[in-house]
């Protein structure tokens, strides 16, 4: 099983998905992320997919769900680095990921969190 490392930096959880995951691995990642976020009470969670070539409807659904789940935990969920080919594929399939907050790069997502989102006391 591939385990995606989840890093904690300045009240933010950061994970980069760089290899293609099986459905089970995606679900394991989802639950690890939620557990860690629950424990650390972060401002936000950023997932970077800038090296991922395929996001299919399953993965897209997990990302969509994560947005709601992380929100329920009181944090903000951000997605960064969606490749051009991936974005056009998702839209053609009808998976708009409308409720997911996205950024072009991890850098921008992190900037947004540090400047626009207030830290919880």
């Amino acid at each position: 099983m591939t385990i995606i490392p989840i890093l904690y930096l300045k009240s933010t959880l950061i994970a980069s998905i760089q290899t293609e995951l099986t459905d089970e691995e995606v679900l394991l990642f989802q639950s690890n992320l939620l557990k860690k976020n629950h424990k650390l009470n972060t401002k936000g969670v950023i997932i970077d997919v800038s090296t991922l070539d395929v996001i299919d409807s399953y993965m897209a659904k997990v990302l969509k769900d994560l947005t709601s789940m992380v929100k329920l935990q009181g944090s903000v969920f951000l997605l960064s680095g969606v490749k051009p080919a991936v974005s056009s594929t998702l839209v053609d399939m009808g998976m708009m990921l409308n409720n997911v907050e996205t950024f072009l790069s991890l850098d921008q997502a992190f900037d947004y969190l540090s400047t626009k989102v207030q830290a919880k006391k």
Binding site: T22, Y58, V86, S88
Partner: protein, 140 residues
């Protein structure tokens, strides 16, 4: 088959677990890459394979994904044939309708996949479902 031509490349990926979905879509992407399809086409083809092979696991447990590459004077054509021996698609026309789903998926499967490739054809009866997707590109 393509007008009785024999394929330049043929590969076969059995689909039994979600790991095989990843293997099949990687193989599809690799072939598209080898024959110089654009990055966008590679991703779209791989994503379509991912959707269709996942259907196998949802509806039929096991099946296979076969790849054939044909090259003629003008075109490279890659075909992925996704085969299972499940209950079959009762109404293929209905199954191609946006938003329709009989499983617990997202209802994007077939119509979603169709929009990602140049051609998608379905042959289905109880015990044998065969879906062919094709991408084609002019030779340079």
């Amino acid at each position: 088959m393509m007008n009785g031509m024999s394929p330049e490349v043929s590969e076969h990926v059995p689909i039994c677990s979600t790991k095989d979905i990843v293997t099949a879509r990687q193989k599809g992407r690799e072939l598209a890459h080898c024959f110089k399809f654009s990055k966008g086409e590679q991703t779209r083809f791989a994503t379509a394979i991912s959707e269709l092979t996942r259907n196998i696991l949802t509806y039929a447990d096991t099946g296979s994904c076969q790849f054939y590459v044909y090259t003629d004077k003008n075109y490279h054509t890659i075909m992925a044939k996704i085969i299972d021996h499940g209950p079959g698609i009762e109404n293929p026309k209905l199954a191609m309708t946006d938003g329709y789903s009989s499983g617990n998926g997202l209802g994007l499967g077939l119509p979603g996949a169709k929009r990602l490739v140049h051609e998608l054809s379905i042959k289905s009866e109880p015990g044998l479902t065969q879906i062919e997707i094709t991408i084609r590109q002019k030779k340079y």
